[in-house]
Structures are given as structure tokens and as C-alpha cells.
Symmetry: C2
């Protein structure tokens, strides 16, 4: 077993790379641009080249490296097969094998990026010390990851942890990107919160700080407004908290984690958001008071490299 | 490793016991009454006595027995601790340890009965050949069990697989036994289907075969009526199918099993029910066509002894 491990978080614009001690300490991190041309064929060689030169520069030999993990933006089968990563141009690929070959036979494991971020928060983030957790990332969309016994539950078809596409809202008539209507993502993502605010402004004459931004209103405006006591903003956030709490309760009745970890840009609202979620989570899980808690993620955009590095340590 | 194993399904009225070959073949099964007096202190000695005398009668020595598994009607902690089983009078107990002592040190494992039934269906029932499944039992209530990688997911607080208490119906105003409103159990259990039928009869003047039974209408009446094309019965079953399909979709977005196994008395409606669930399951999981299938349970009331026996074979 080596002393260090590598975490690679492959995104549509940049690839984030981190070098870690196997105890979880981040030694250094850097980025390389994601070259998507020609079906993303340069991504793996670019990343491997960058890793090899960094290791050389730091005087770390390959013998000292336990392996590398990769988070990729799409479903990864249990045998490492990736059918498609739309954002990278990848199709019909075994990225583990290719990266391993490019790194001189180093052990490499790949998994879905949202699941990997959950593993990162378990290892060194808001979920540190827990073995069973569900992470929910509230960003442009809503992503998620389910960890049981310190292992990612990827699901047989890569759908496990697709928390954003849990149907929560019957009266929603607009379509989600997935083709459905009433997905959690439609109301609890940054995009969804902004839309909910536009709807609330259109539906009432209530004065509100949100009206200053008008149609340009953002999730941050809504959260700041709600924290400051703006009535319309509070009304919007009650709707958001309602559906987030409902989804958490539904997930508890399925896998019952020790803790939910809330991350993504929207989670910058902090304890205010957590308290709001708790209110409805308790309402929708009245079967028991003894259930998983809710905490904030702490690793931000680094969750992916942490989790990727952790992948290889099993 | 022994050649046979024992499955014990502890219910509130009788304890079912099965003797199995470790390949899953049922050799014999029998029942003993559940003596609940004095906080159920006689249950374990009664069962142990019955097992020992059956083994003796069959000429099977303890060396040939790999162990015994128990399904109990309440949450079991991962260390085997049972805080309470209301139906048995048990409180503050380690049933594994007690049963093991009563069986001369035989290895014993205990788990929640609904979870154990899911394991049984995986081993020798409708879910045979699958490693990841979710079982949903539609009986007087709605129970469930989640299996991932051939292991029960019990959850950190014993709530995993509490499928019956997933909140699905916002407009429900009556309370569920759990204290909440709008649980799946309230609409998809046998009790729930009958209630839905009474509501439908009261809400319309539509002629229907269900009116013959009036307030005594049962879930079976509704299913038989719907199969025969009775309009009111079909209308009720569409509501039931809607919420079952919704719950399955929500579960898929969390753990994404290979297959859902539908059991319990209501599942005697067979493929008719499965088709109805599929219709709404597809509607509420439009993110992907590639997802877990839905099959019928096949072991009936024996699922518990099968699963209990399987518990000990890990």
C-alpha cells in the first residue's frame, strides 16, 4: 500500500486533481482544462501527463502511490463501463482501464461524480465519522449520493442517488429536464428557487425586496431576503423547505441514513436552510423521532477530489 | 459448515419454523403458538424446545446444523439488540444470544421480519437470481425490505424499508397509525383499498358491484371488480396504482434496485396489479427507461422462514 493517493474529478470545463495522504490530508491540488474535442479522447492522456509530471516534480515515485480514483459526470457500471458522458463527449469507454494504462498500470477506480462527492464528504467533510449518509447537492440542478456501510450505492442502472428526480410535487405542470413533472430539482435547485420566486412575485402584489431584481432574481436573493425576514422570500423558502423535507423523509423510509449532508451553492444559506428542512422533514416522518440528522457539507468544490481519492482506498 | 439451517419467523400468534438444506430446499416446516404472557419470556424456550425435538426426531445432530435465523416483528439493531417488540411483549432483549444459548451455542442471527421476508424472496422466491431488490408487502398494512448486494439494508434507526410510511398523498387528512397523513399504507394496504372504495362509493352515484358489499367492501372485492371491468372499482385501483407507482419511482431514485417484488394478500391480484403499478411507475420515473422491473412474490407466508434461514448463511 502506497502512502499517497490521487483524486480526479472530471468536469465539463476543467478536471480537478488532488494529491492526498492516505489518511485524508490534501497535499496539493490543481486543475487541467477539459479538452472535449474528438469525443474527449485527450482528457485521459492530458490528466495522466499532468499527474506524472506533478509526481516527478514532488519527487514521489509510483511505488508510493496507492492508486487513483475518478469521478465522472455520468453513470458508471460496476465493471467500470461508461456508456455515455454527454458533457465530455465520451461514449463506450472503460475510463478506469484507460487511465490505469496511461499511469503505468496504477490501480484506478471510477464512479459517478455525484456519488463520489458524497464519499468525499463522508471521508473528510460534513459526514466525517458516519458510515451511512445521503448527500444532496443543491446547485444549478439537484444531485445526490447514497452511501451505506462506507460504500457508494450506485444502483443497478446508475439511478441510485438521483435525488433531484424524485417526484415530489403533483401540481407542477412544467417539465423537468428528465422529461417528468414535479421533480425535486424543479423546486429546490438554485434555478428552481429563482423560478419559484418569479412565480410568487407574479401571483401576488405583496411588496418584497425580490422585486428589485425582478425577473433576474436569484436563489441567493431569495435566501438573503428570507433571512432578513422579507415575507415573500420567506413564503418561497417555505415551499422549498417543504419539498426538501418531504424528499428527506421519503429517503429515510427507504435507506434510513445516519445523516443527510446538504451541499451545493444553495447550502451557503447555512443553518437557516437546515432548520427549514428539519421542520418539514419531521412533519413527513412522524413514524419516529429517532432518525438521521441533517448537516452542511464542508468541502465545497473539493468534495469530488476527496471522494475520488477515497474510492481507491477500499 | 453444516448441511442444514433453520428459519424462525416469530409472529404475534404463531412462530413459523422451517428446516432447510443450505441450498435452499425446504425439508419441513411447522408452527408453535406464540405465548406472549410475562413479556413473551416463554417464546424463545418454546421455539428452541420444538427445534431440538424435531432435529432429534429426524436424526439430525447439531453438528449438521449451520445455524438459525430469526425474523422478529420490530426493529433489530446491528448488534442484535431489540428495544421493543410490541406484539410479543418483548423489551430490552438480545434474542440472538438467548436463542443461541437455548440451542446449545448454535450461531443465531435476528433481523426485522419484513426485511427477512425480502431476503427470503431473493433467495428462493420472486426475486431469485437478483442481488438488489426491494420487496413491498401489501397486506393489512404495507411493509417493505431493501436488499443491496444480497444484504438487508436495515438503516441506522431501523427505518429502512418502511415503505408503507413513505408520504405520497398530500390531500389525505386522516391520520395513519404512524401519526402522519398521506402514507402509502393508507391507500395501498388492503385496509386502505377498502377505505378508498367506501370513499368512492360515497362520492358518486355510479352503479357498481362494490355497492353490494356496501361498507363491508374488501380489497378483494375491489380487485375482482376492477378485473371484471367495474368502472368504480377501476377508478379506485387507478388511485392505488398511482401511489404505488409513485413510491416505486421514488425508491428507484434512491437505491435503484434490479427488481421490485410485490407480495402480501393484495398481490394475489397478480399481473393485473403489476401492470397497473408499471403504468404510474413509468410516468414518475421518466428520467430513464432502464430501471428495475416489477415481479410478484412467490413464497407467500413462507417468505419469513426462507429469509430467516438465509440470514445465517452469510
Amino acid at each position: 500500500m502506497g502512502k499517497v493517493c490521487i483524486g480526479i474529478d472530471v468536469g465539463g470545463t476543467t478536471v480537478k486533481i488532488g494529491l492526498f495522504q492516505i489518511n485524508g490530508e490534501l497535499l496539493c491540488k490543481w486543475e487541467v482544462p477539459t479538452r472535449k474535442e474528438e469525443n474527449g479522447k485527450y482528457i485521459i492522456p492530458d490528466v495522466a501527463q499532468s499527474i506524472l509530471s506533478t509526481l516527478k516534480e514532488k519527487g514521489i515515485s509510483m511505488d508510493e502511490v496507492a492508486g487513483a480514483g475518478m469521478g465522472v459526470p455520468g453513470p458508471v457500471r460496476s465493471n467500470g463501463y461508461v456508456e455515455v458522458c454527454v458533457n465530455l463527449g465520451w461514449r463506450d469507454l472503460f475510463p478506469e482501464k484507460e487511465m490505469s494504462r496511461a499511469l503505468g498500470g496504477l490501480p484506478v477506480k471510477a464512479a459517478n461524480d455525484a456519488n463520489v462527492a458524497a464519499l468525499g464528504e463522508m471521508w473528510q467533510g460534513g459526514g466525517k465519522g458516519y458510515e451511512d449518509l445521503v448527500m444532496i447537492t443543491l446547485g444549478t440542478g439537484v444531485g445526490g449520493g447514497v452511501i451505506v456501510g462506507q460504500k457508494i450505492i450506485a444502483g443497478k442502472h446508475g439511478l441510485a442517488g438521483e435525488i433531484g428526480h424524485i417526484h415530489v410535487r403533483d401540481e407542477e405542470k412544467e417539465h423537468c429536464n428528465c422529461g417528468g413533472c414535479g421533480c425535486l430539482e424543479q423546486v429546490a435547485s438554485a434555478t428552481g428557487i429563482a423560478r419559484e420566486a418569479r412565480r410568487a412575485m407574479a401571483a401576488s402584489q405583496m411588496p418584497s425586496v425580490l422585486r428589485e431584481a425582478g425577473d433576474q432574481v436569484t436563489a441567493k436573493d431569495v435566501l438573503d431576503g428570507a433571512k432578513a425576514g422579507d415575507r415573500l422570500a420567506c413564503q418561497v423558502m417555505e415551499v422549498v423547505g417543504h419539498y426538501l423535507g418531504l424528499a428527506l423523509a421519503q429517503i429515510s423510509m427507504t435507506v434510513d441514513p445516519e445523516v443527510f449532508v446538504i451541499g451545493g451553492g444553495v447550502s451557503k444559506a447555512g443553518q437557516f436552510l437546515i432548520d427549514l428542512i428539519y421542520k418539514y422533514y419531521d412533519e413527513f416522518s412522524s413514524i419516529s423521532k429517532d432518525k438521521g440528522g441533517i448537516v452542511l457539507a464542508t468541502l465545497g468544490n473539493d468534495a469530488g477530489i476527496y471522494g475520488a481519492a477515497r474510492l481507491i482506498l477500499d
